[in-house]
Amino acid sequence: MSRSIPQSESRNYVPLYLILFPTFLLLAIFCLIPFIWAFVTSFYEYEVGAPAHFVGLSNYSTYLFHDHTLGESLGNMAFLTLFAVVVTVIVPLTIAKLIFSLSSPRASYVYRILFLIPILVPSVAVQLIWKDFIYSGTGLLNQFLNILHLSNLTRGWLSSPHTVLTSIAFIGFPFANGIQILIYYAGLTSISDSVHEAAFLDGATGVRKFLTIDVPLVLSQIKLLVILTLIGGIQSFESLFILTRGGPGFKSTVPGLWMYFNAFSFQKMGYACSIGVLLFLLILVLTVINLKFFRSSEDVTAASI
């Protein structure tokens, strides 16, 4: 039942609104207004410095029905995003569970710190290390293959159309992302001891307990990370820009990268905005599906009560 807030009490909230105001203002200036501007611009043929011409849905229809990059770039995006989602669900959760299972709190603390340290390295540096030291023609991977007398397998990992996408997907191997591990770890620690004891009494231990008790109870964390990974996978293109610029051909191009090229290299702002709006819609739909059809740990708990 809702209650009305007395006037004297509501005055207490004024400072809080004042604190929120700059944040909202910045959000409006840098996110909301540009989004509205982008949406409007997507109906124009617009180049910076030249007059804009209203073209209706032409930018959308050109991208959806005539742009050669569409199919390939969507496929690339789907592959990289799904790979990232699978990896995000499996690897950090497994590591978090292993750390959680350690009997020594000191060892658990040390491992958490150790897995967190790599996040201090800027992601651009990580990309460049993989590009120049591992995947390059004279990089570690090819040298390793040479040592194993497998020279016939050496190649330009990022320049070969046959290996570029898989190579990009494997950047970051073994995928032990510190932040994701911490989120899962927090989820695991929030499971009450009584649940663990009940599981033990029911004979659920080891992998079985992990799959039937732990995983359902960290579904909220899984859901959060899946949404974040989906959004990141669809939006991000910086690493591809650094690594391959989307090449060879369009073998590692994603729609976000093509949007960037159209906006800043070809100056087709209206066209780029239409790609941006479509990506927004895609993210919106996937997020709604995720929220609507995937259960959270609260739903699981509520269902079991």
Binding site: P22, S136, P161, H162, F264
Partner: protein, 527 residues
């Protein structure tokens, strides 16, 4: 207390949002630069390009370059109301360029590749220089080159002409030229009793022999350079003997040396008649040859440091520009002798379309100085562009600085301070180390520059599809189909933007009907 802290945070947030005191007005005054500043009326900002920026120490050099500063000091003495400021700008960063130009904040003189400028000339972001080039250079003494027309000062006007924008106007001048050539490892060549090749067959033979002898990559060339220069030189070899037939628009301003150069509208019309399509056998042959050549290059074209490969003798030949020269000349640890040769011609015994004419030059204007819309900042922005050009005193002073730079003494001070470029001003000799490039530059110019023909999207897609084809990502047929789409799309965009009249070109095409009968290998639509 809680409220005091929260309000303090709010206050700090608002303060952080405010612009720094006086900051914005400083920016405006330095960029507009027409305000009196201690007797200085004009502050002209110049981006001399990355290698000429005063104070910068070039790779392997001992002292910073100062040439531009020396010349600017002399100019300031001549015009005490003018100050020249130099600044470095991000190279190849189109985002930066567009934002600066759209707000008229770019340097007054900027070094930018002509094809980047072409995109924006219709927006009046750059000043056309034709009118000035046709007039005398006021700094040149009577009787000297340039005293009648500024144009006459340039040693290689043909190459400057090739940077003429699609609207037919010139927007840049160059003090220097750049050309490519093959740097080869004389020590390796001597070991295998090899000498520079006389024709393409010998060239391939040398690469085959070196590869068999264990040199992993006989031929080294940057991926982008291979696309850019490679397409042009092989194209010229395949179509060179059809130049009179294909040239549909003779431009007398360009002179005989550039006669036959194909502009985008000519390429478009020829394409409509079946040229540069999968049905065009010469087109197919061009890319077959390039693919065959690629076999002698490193497996990883994207991730290889080619210069390093050459100096560590992983490769025997490096196709690069004169920019590479200072690194080799000044390298104290180079463990081998090197020499230079130019790419040999393709004989008819190798390809039925070739006639053995010398391989064309593909270099040209090195630092291309464009005058930007910032130079018009002393005139109202709402005034028509032509009127602003006429009225602006600031523009006149900016042009005067460019003309002053073109004095032989000044060109020599700037260009010959480093060993990377060939002076483009008559009366200025090249440094001896650049002698091979002097010869390479005298060759006929490539029939077209595929990377400069259409817009930036065409270039981007061409580079990508070429890369894919060179790495076995697509077949030759698929590549040619894709190329046809790319030319179609770029032609449509350019036609929409520039509204050219194809009728005169079509008329010339019709008049060449008799000539076409002499060629049996034309695409069906062209016969």
């Amino acid at each position: 207390m809680k409220h005091v802290i929260l309000l303090f945070i709010v206050g700090v947030s608002i303060w952080a949002l405010l612009p720094p005191r006086g900051g914005s007005s400083e920016v405006i005054s330095s960029s507009v630069a027409t305000r009196e500043q201690g007797g200085v009326k004009y502050v002209i900002r110049v981006d001399p390009g990355p290698l000429y920026l005063p104070g910068l120490v070039p790779e392997n050099a001992k002292a910073p370059v100062q040439g531009f500063r020396v010349v600017a000091d002399a100019f300031e003495k001549l015009y005490p109301d003018t100050r020249i400021e130099f600044l470095g700008c991000p190279e190849g960063t189109r985002e930066w360029l567009v934002t600066q130009l759209s707000s008229a904040q770019a340097p007054d003189i900027i070094q930018v590749n002509a094809r980047d400028a072409w995109q924006d000339v219709r927006k009046h972001w750059y000043i056309p220089l034709d009118g000035y080039l046709d007039e005398p250079n006021p700094f040149v003494a009577k009787g000297e080159p340039g005293s009648i027309r500024w144009w006459d000062q340039f040693k290689y006007p043909v190459h400057t002409q090739s940077t003429r924008a699609p609207d037919g106007r010139i927007y840049n001048v160059s003090l220097d030229m750049i050309e490519t050539g093959i740097y080869y490892n004389k020590t390796i060549f001597a070991r295998y009793h090899l000498s520079p090749p006389k024709d393409w067959v010998e060239f391939l033979g040398i690469m085959r022999m070196l590869k068999a002898a264990g040199i992993p990559s006989p031929m080294l060339v940057e991926k982008r350079d291979f696309t850019d220069w490679g397409c042009d030189i092989i194209f010229d070899q395949m179509y060179g003997n059809m130049r009179p037939l294909m040239d549909l628009n003779y431009d007398p301003r360009r002179g005989e040396d550039l006669n036959g150069y194909l502009d985008w509208d000519e390429v478009t019309l020829l394409h409509r008649h079946g040229f540069f399509t999968p049905r065009d056998d010469r087109w197919r042959e061009t890319f077959r040859i390039l693919r065959e050549w690629r076999e002698f290059m490193p497996q990883d074209m994207a991730g290889t440091d080619f210069f390093k490969g050459f100096v560590t003798q992983q490769g025997a030949m490096l196709w690069a520009s004169s920019l590479t020269l200072p690194r080799l000349v000044n390298d104290p640890h180079l463990g081998f002798e090197w020499g230079m040769f130019y790419l040999p011609s393709i004989p008819s015994s190798y390809s039925r379309f070739a006639d053995g004419h010398p391989m064309s030059a593909v270099g040209g204007a090195a630092n291309q100085y464009h005058v930007t819309n910032s130079s018009l900042s002393d005139t109202p922005a709402e005034m028509p562009f032509e009127q602003r050009m006429e009225k602006s005193e600031r523009l006149k002073r900016t042009i005067a600085f460019l003309q002053f730079m073109c004095m032989p003494k000044n060109c020599n001070t700037v260009v010959n301070e480093i060993t990377a470029f060939i002076p483009n001003i008559k009366g200025v000799d090249s440094r001896p180390e650049l002698a091979p490039f002097d010869e390479f530059l005298t060759r006929h110019y490539s029939m077209t520059k595929w990377f400069f023909t259409f817009d930036l999207q065409f270039d981007e897609v061409l580079e990508r599809m070429f890369d894919l084809y060179m790495n076995d990502g697509i077949s030759l047929d698929s590549f040619l189909d894709w190329m046809q789409d790319n030319i179609d799309s770029a032609s449509a965009t350019m036609t929409r933007q520039h509204h050219p009249d194809f009728a005169p070109l079509e008329k010339t095409w019709e008049s060449h009907a008799g000539m076409r009968k002499n060629y049996t290998d034309l695409p069906a639509e062209a016969r």
